[in-house]
Symmetry: C2
Subunit: 257 residues, 2 copies
């Protein structure tokens, strides 16, 4: 749906959404952007609506990263976490998205930035979670793990503990799947032309599988080009995407009120 989610969500019924997963706009001093100073206030107004439309056992996943302002990591992200908690959200967990292919570059005071936050907030301590849905086949996991760290990484930084890998392979014998950790290794997707998606499909896919079942309703209040909705649809979930520029809804939404 097109518009500011602050307004659009007012027309939504309570407790109807099972999962909110989104990557909001970053703070930005430029005209048209939200300044770091007013970011928390801006976000919390919308978070009030998020809390209203979210099911009591639902989850809210916030993908964000503090950018550098005047040589420092800005603090509006952690200030937002404190504000959300003060407003009653439970800061249940923090997942790390490790971006395997991060932007290159060299600066005198920092290395390449290769990760982003994925904060997990809930409204109650008893929330829905389907861990078995994100199990990874052992072979696949091992391969992906190897690939994600790349042979280089393995040799790079584990000369001392090189035996670790082989030892673990031995431990895997007999098992077929394992649960992943709270560190997610996904490459950013670069669609060679046209619209860039904020995050790769694998990211919303992981959280949709982890926190919803087929038929549940997924909301992305800052959906951009609609990656979250595309993934939700593919996984058999209903979805609503809201963006000031664009509207995304792939399936007719059943009995929204």
């Amino acid at each position: 749906m097109a518009g500011d989610c602050l307004e659009v969500l007012r027309g939504f019924p309570e407790q109807r959404v099972d999962l909110i997963v989104t990557s909001p706009p970053y703070a930005d001093r430029r005209p048209g952007g939200i300044s770091p100073d007013e970011y928390t206030e801006w976000f919390m107004a919308r978070a009030t609506q998020f809390a209203r439309v979210l099911h009591p056992e639902g989850s809210f996943v916030l993908n964000i990263k503090e950018n550098v302002i005047n040589g420092e990591r800005s603090t509006y992200v952690i200030e937002l976490v404190l504000a959300l908690r003060k407003a009653g959200w439970l800061w249940t967990e923090e997942y790390i998205w490790h971006k395997r292919n991060s932007m290159p570059g060299r600066w005198p005071n920092r290395l390449r930035d290769a990760w982003e936050h994925c904060y997990h907030f809930t409204l109650s301590r008893r929330f829905r979670m389907y861990q078995d849905a994100v199990r990874v086949p052992i072979g696949d996991w091992a391969e992906r793990r190897m690939a994600s760290l790349s042979e280089a990484d393995m040799t790079r930084q584990s000369s001392r503990t090189g035996s670790g890998v082989a030892k673990r392979v031995a431990n895997w014998a007999g098992r077929t799947t394992v649960l992943p950790t709270n560190v997610l290794h996904f490459a950013t997707e670069s669609h060679n032309r046209g619209h860039h998606s904020a995050f790769p499909e694998a990211l919303p896919e992981f959280f949709i599988k982890l926190f919803t079942e087929p038929g549940h309703l997924v909301l992305d209040p800052f959906c951009g080009t609609g990656t979250t909705c595309v993934v939700a649809d593919r996984l058999g979930r209903d979805s609503v995407g809201i963006d000031v520029d664009k509207a995304v809804r792939l399936r007719p939404l059943p009995r929204l009120r």
Copy 2:
């Protein structure tokens, strides 16, 4: 040196330390521990001494992770970041330590925890950093790419002058290493007896290489079994370790005052 670093550091001269790298005790409600509520106050008293003994162009690396209290990630860590910044420390960067082999286990409301913060604070925007000391082997993609530099590679940066081409070729010819990112993949070391493994040697090693030169002085104010000092010694740096239980200094400290 044995004792509380708050007391011990009072006897230290100003600006003598080139790098502080440490993993402080976590907040803990149990008797003898620092409670989450008073953690920031407890830490900041010591951070005042850190700022006093640290060289103006030195670095302070804080390895920490918020533990779960009553089902939520506790907030004392990010409150500490805000407090440090308020006290004048610059929050320059945040590195993520990805623990390749995290503790097994399964909980109903979260996946296995496999990462920790490594906050990087400085006293000035111009600080010492030796990036070339932490270079890692290049990924295998490079060989193919080296075979023939793409046209875009050569023209992308300076379509106008054309001089960029030669510069670029020179930069890449024969390159075998690249700079790492701010995500560090180290396995935890399990010293099979007694002591809980603080951090693996690779972790302080990375930051000691990145922020100091041989002969510099490294301080770990919560040194535990002294991993930081052992690594510093191996890398040719002087070091001082302080712990309430134990004293660690491997080399005689030259002209400490």
